[in-house]
């Protein structure tokens, strides 16, 4: 008897939004098919080939439903609260209730919904002088959601406006946060000089404060990342050192993972991979959240692959896969499958495409930003070229190129396109250690 896999389940289960928590739970509780341990199909296995644990779902379905019910009750409560505040003329409190709703949706990885609530909050306090700071917060939250959704132009516009409003409201930390947020959007688009300018402006604002605040090391770390990405490795060291000093002065233990991760990537840029590995392992030890651990683990896999340790690289990527599933972060899976696909192609497997196709499938199913799709197509094209399928590689390259253009990610697109046309390997996957705003 063939056992039910996640793929088998998806063949008959309707794709309804309300079933998403249930599917995520099934993914988290799914098991690997041990009969495939030493076969090639095991090496190319993905979330879809994992086995469904139906008995576990029968046990937990009630608790799952209760959790959804609890969420709906909280959200309805917040909406009712907001309406009552509006009726009583307390727009600031109404906006705060909607921002709490946005935060809850953001924590559940629903940026589309978070954006809608943040938008509502902003509309409530827009133009009201007494609530300028709150309006800036609402815009920053909307901007963050839009950035997550890959709507970069709208996100940067929101951050710039949030900065203007915070400045007018004499809220320097709010202004700095908006500048860091804008910098992050530009950085993601490869517009490095614009990003650098925003981080430096944020630092000017923060330096005028009496003492250091966490935004200081956030801005410095991000400045380091953008300088490093732009190839100014020497210049990137000073902000990283300052970020470390400020985090130490603030006794901010949460900074260690980000700073070590950045040091690891800096060593990778210098092609000093053993030293990079050391930093990344320390970052992994210091990471406080599964999301950070997954990102660092994938950097570590890159570092191992660069040293020719493909078995170790695949092992770390597989751990990142397990952690993504267990922590309900399936949006991290495309990154995992991209690196596994590259490893398989590196080993000469003509079936590596399976992993890239899976990544594209998840990007589409989860409505992930176009950047994820572009990066997956880019890695896919490189892998196909490596295994000798020039025709497919060219088609994928063309599509990735079109997406990068659409997103306005010119520099990254051009750099890659030149290298691709020259028939060399593509650039390393860009994984940032940037602290979000």
């Amino acid at each position: 008897m063939k056992r039910l896999t996640i793929d088998g389940l998806r063949a008959f289960l309707p794709e309804l939004d309300e079933l998403r928590p249930l599917v995520d739970h099934l993914l988290a509780s799914s098991r690997v098919d041990e009969t495939r341990t030493w076969s090639e199909s095991g090496e190319l296995g993905t979330a879809g080939s994992r086995l469904v644990d139906a008995a576990e779902l029968l046990q937990r379905s009630q608790a799952l439903a209760e959790r959804e019910h609890e969420h709906a009750r909280t959200m309805f409560g917040l909406i009712a609260e907001a309406i009552a505040h509006v009726e009583a003329g307390r727009h600031d409190e109404a906006a705060s209730a909607l921002l709490r709703a946005a935060a809850l949706e953001e924590a559940r990885d629903r940026p589309d919904r978070a954006e809608a609530y943040a938008h509502g909050a902003f509309e409530l306090v827009r133009g009201r002088r007494a609530e300028e700071s709150l309006a800036s917060v609402a815009l920053r939250r909307r901007a963050r959601a839009r950035r997550t959704l890959g709507r970069y132009r709208e996100a940067s516009r929101d951050y710039e406006e949030a900065h203007t409003i915070a400045e007018a409201a004499s809220d320097p930390r709010g202004a700095a946060e908006a500048l860091i947020g804008a910098g992050n959007v530009y950085e993601e688009q490869g517009l490095w000089s614009d990003a650098e300018a925003r981080y430096r402006s944020a630092l000017s604002v923060l330096d005028a404060l009496e003492g250091p605040v966490p935004e200081h090391w956030h801005a410095l770390l991000n400045l380091h990342v953008v300088l490093r990405s732009a190839g100014s490795l020497e210049a990137s060291v000073e902000p990283l050192e300052r970020a470390s000093e400020i985090a130490a002065a603030l006794d901010d233990s949460g900074a260690a993972a980000f700073l070590q991760n950045a040091r690891g990537q800096l060593r990778m840029a210098h092609e000093d991979f053993p030293a990079a590995e050391e930093h990344l392992r320390r970052a992994l030890g210091a990471s406080g959240s599964p999301r950070a651990a997954i990102t660092i683990r994938l950097n570590l896999a890159e570092c191992l692959l660069a040293q020719g340790k493909s078995l170790d690289a695949a092992e770390e990527a597989r751990r990142a896969e397990k952690e993504s599933l267990m922590a309900r972060l399936p949006q991290k899976l495309p990154e995992v499958y991209r690196i596994l696909g590259r490893i398989a192609a590196h080993e000469g497997s003509t079936n590596a495409f399976v992993l890239f196709e899976r990544a594209l499938e998840i990007v589409a199913d989860r409505g992930l930003p176009s950047l994820e799709r572009a990066q997956t197509l880019q890695a896919y094209a490189e892998a196909e070229r490596r295994v000798g399928d020039e025709e497919t590689a060219a088609g994928l390259h063309e599509e990735a190129d079109r997406l990068y253009s659409e997103l306005g990610i010119e520099r990254m697109r051009r750099a890659w396109s030149d290298r691709f046309d020259a028939g060399r390997d593509g650039p390393k996957r860009d994984i940032k250690g940037t602290r979000d705003d």
């Binding site: 341990t37 095991g42 296995g45 799952l64 030293a275 597989r318 397990k322 922590a327 899976r358 025709e391």
Partner: protein, 454 residues
């Protein structure tokens, strides 16, 4: 064989080393200058070389040179106090360990113990003595009969069905059949039918036109067309759906294929070699595999033996892979100890040749000297690149393959269950702040488990 140890140390540490070496029945030669160290390395091979980082004239360049010499054996570094720089250097040059000075006999014991039972060194085959493919390595009677069948059928165009456990090297045999055939000037194309999801497999086999379905961003040539005049290897064919089995059967009978979303069929001249680790007879009885396709594929059937039945071949293959990976990773490894070979021969190899290959790849990376020792073999823990690595329970209550996040999730869940979801009590037991526990519960999705935490 008594282990021979060379050390560049000061007098006091030299004495500690002498005592520890005597306990394992070895001999230690302690030198006090870099010149003497290099001379000793030129004159004799050593099982273990110990170098103090604080000794005169010892710098990175010297250590790199020592690490690269075949006569060094295993390299141990030692220094006073902890230093990140020393740790990074040790890692970079492949030293087995970085010990603290003054030397502690118990820290040395661990490394010396690994030397005492290594037996003699067996030379690895040089490039000229190695066949191109692992499938051709083997002198057992089982493999002799496989080689005989390969020789008989390689020149014909008849379809071949390869059977055997996972990891026995079916693809390598299929490739050898192709290389020995008159089709060798054309392509050998491999498809894994179990790895490719059902919705992709048809277009992968027969190709598709651009825009034939959502996601068809580019025109794709199918594997049948790419294998024209060559060989198509259909691996894990037992996992193919009945619908696709019918389409493959038709392609084999008509020798024509049609792209998904296309309108015209094209002629293909393909020799098919299929493989499976399943018992197709049972699959036919259960209605999971078409009998007519089976007979079409199994014109000649070759069964590949599992590694555990191949006797001496295990040793030959281990040496073949060791030499191959030493060359691939640029390591100057020229031998393997008899103790390491004995461990390899005693192992059961559930993952067959594929597992042995991974073990030797890792062993090469873990060897700092010129000889692979038994300590470098990670038997049973050699990770496949699969997600399907079995999570066998360990005496500690969780598998060694579990990540920290998995262990943490499991432990938090158990504690929460034991206190009926009371977060305050659970946080006390776990020794973490209540807020930290709440965050972890949310991150790991534990609030939906076991009646929910409060």
């Amino acid at each position: 064989m008594k282990p021979r140890i060379l050390a560049l140390l000061d007098e006091r540490d030299g004495k500690t080393l002498d005592r520890a070496t005597a306990e394992v029945g070895g001999t230690a030669s302690v030198v006090y200058s870099v010149d003497k160290l290099l001379r000793a390395l030129r004159e004799n091979p050593w099982d273990l070389t110990v170098v103090s980082l604080g000794a005169d004239m010892v710098d990175e360049a010297l250590l790199e040179r020592v690490a690269g010499l075949e006569s060094t054996g295993t390299l141990l570094l030692c220094g006073r106090g902890a230093s990140l720089q020393a740790a990074l250097l040790s890692e970079r040059i492949g030293a087995a360990a970085l010990l603290r000075l003054p030397l502690d006999a118990s820290a040395l014991d661990e490394h010396l113990a690994g030397l005492q039972d290594e037996g003699r060194s067996v030379r690895l085959p040089g490039p000229a003595d190695r066949p191109d493919e692992a499938s051709l390595v083997g002198e057992s009677a089982e493999m002799a009969s496989v080689f005989g069948l390969i020789a008989k059928v390689s020149r014909s165009s008849s379809t071949v069905l390869l059977t055997g456990e996972s990891g026995t090297g079916k693809e390598v045999v299929a490739r050898t059949l192709h290389e020995q055939s008159e089709r060798r000037e054309h392509e050998f194309v491999a498809v894994n039918c179990a790895a490719i999801p059902e919705n992709l497999l048809e277009s992968e086999l027969f190709g598709h036109e651009k825009g034939a379905f959502t996601g068809a961003v580019a025109k794709r040539t199918g594997r049948f067309q790419r294998a024209h005049r060559g060989t198509l290897f259909l691996d894990e064919i037992g996992d193919m759906s009945l619908v696709l089995q019918a389409k493959v059967l038709r392609a084999l009978e008509e020798r024509r294929v049609e792209r998904v979303g296309g309108h015209a069929s094209e002629a293909v001249d393909v020799r098919v070699v299929a493989a499976t680790n399943q018992r197709l007879g049972e699959a036919i009885e259960e209605g999971r595999f078409r009998e007519d396709l089976y007979y079409r594929l199994a014109v000649v059937e070759i069964e590949l033996p599992p590694l555990r039945t191949r006797g001496e071949d295990v040793r030959l293959l281990a040496m073949y892979f060791a030499a191959l990976f030493a060359e691939r990773h640029g390591r100057s490894i020229s031998a393997i100890s008899t103790a390491a070979l004995e461990r390899i021969e005693a192992f059961d190899w559930p993952g067959n040749v594929r597992e042995l290959r991974n073990v030797m790849d890792r062993a090469v990376l873990l060897t700092s000297g010129s000889c692979i020792r038994s300590g470098a073999l990670r038997l049973g823990a050699a990770a496949p690149r699969a997600s399907s690595r079995p999570d066998a329970p360990s005496p500690h209550g969780y598998p060694e393959t579990a990540s920290l996040a998995e262990v943490e999730t499991d432990h938090i869940r158990r504690v929460l269950e034991s206190v009926e979801g009371q977060i305050g009590r659970a946080a006390d037991i776990l020794g973490i702040h209540r807020n930290t526990l709440s965050r972890k519960i949310q991150e790991y999705g534990l609030d939906e488990a076991g009646g929910g935490a409060r």
